[in-house]
Subunit: 123 residues, 2 copies
Amino acid sequence: MADFNSVGLQFVQYYYNQFQVNRAELTNLFTDQSMLSFEGEHFRGTQQIIQKFQSLGMQKISHQIVTHDVQPSSTPGGIIIFVTGLLKMDEDAPMKFTQVFHLNQTPSGSYYVHNTVFRLNLG
Amino acid sequence: MADFNSVGLQFVQYYYNQFQVNRAELTNLFTDQSMLSFEGEHFRGTQQIIQKFQSLGMQKISHQIVTHDVQPSSTPGGIIIFVTGLLKMDEDAPMKFTQVFHLNQTPSGSYYVHNTVFRLNLG
């Protein structure tokens, strides 16, 4: 089994960096089976998910990761990654967020996001 | 496929109610494959997980659920549940928390927790 902790950390760094520099490039991380829940809205498949990301209105976004926890899931090769952090959009004050990813492997061994849920911790 | 949203909601209500009234009863929700990450500490199997719950020092605990998101996972019958809420221990001020569960089905069709990660949102 691959070292799931290393995969988890690399994924987190890649994902949030790409989100900051070029959200459209995240296409490669999703498939038509992928699911996104974003602040209670639900999206399925690469196209819906990337459209949602592109529709977010901010010009600048940066994520600061505070914690990340990684576990192997019950899907062979699957990895669950749980992230807490701070999100800064444009000139707004930073907001706390939490996000979970369930990565799965393609037949060729690369990883894609099967499930992800994002929530701001406002309430 | 079972209605994963109903299963998710029922699970959340059951889990946090049992946590409040009798944490030892949660034994039924775990197996020897279960994994818990709790504030960065990692536990595996029913015994380690329940011991951790029992070692928590508070007399009273109550959870107020603010959001819950549910998705089917890639494991047949599997469900991912993502919860944000407020946790109150004894007479302390409420604290925000986030928790994810990956439920799987046993051969007999009941659900158990394969993965769970718990974090207070302090940082």
